[in-house]
Symmetry: C2
Amino acid sequence: MLSNHSKVIKSDHFQWEGVEKKEYKSDTNNFKDIHRYSLLGEEITDLNFQTRYFEIKPGGFSSLEKHQHPHSVVIIRGSGSVVLDNEVHPIKVHDVVYIAPETIHQFHADHSEELGFICVVDRERDRPVIPNDEVIQSRISSQEVLNKIQK
Amino acid sequence: MLSNHSKVIKSDHFQWEGVEKKEYKSDTNNFKDIHRYSLLGEEITDLNFQTRYFEIKPGGFSSLEKHQHPHSVVIIRGSGSVVLDNEVHPIKVHDVVYIAPETIHQFHADHSEELGFICVVDRERDRPVIPNDEVIQSRISSQEVLNKIQK
């Protein structure tokens, strides 16, 4: 099937037909027990955005990062929490997270179960930046967040 | 909270805090028992795309239509079927549907339960067109699809 054709990608227990479970990132290692599934990705040139699924195992987390492009996130599995600059929010199935440009953010599967979410981003986007200690100190005063983040 | 700020929108049984259940469309009436929730919409000007949730009651359907902009769809509730030009596919929770430009499409909650799905579209997009009988006849030869579509 041509990748630009309409299609249904069948799912089975958070796996999708023909979609590989991939390494989360290859250029950094400030994350733990998280994988990436590119559901509708760069192969579909008619799309201006990409639809990915991320799954974090209990105790794992995504990289602490910020970037100019925003994220639209819908939780579809389990629960956990998300750091958004100076706040940490509990999240669970069907909650929606908007991550605005330059927000320091990190997802945590800290509720003893998987945390899985759909994350949509612009096809053309800037690379994430890992905030250094100076940036963290200037932006984050909450002790709860400082205790939560993994660098 | 400023709408362009990062935020979590909490969900509760397919309702979202501060998000209205809206009419599906106001300019046509070729649909049945379907509602729209704008989760991350035009108020967030930093987003180049919009994240909506649609829910169809058992027996209902979306409008039969086509347009230039593509759709990225993730089913998050129940099951049903989707017409994609000359094919009809069963769909259920967590299946992903890519609807390419100009595909004639229609969602049906035809499995005796709600069908709910996240649908992401470009912020700037063309208006849907309802295909007339001539277009339908030229594009659709499958009797199964012809029996399924509701005009």
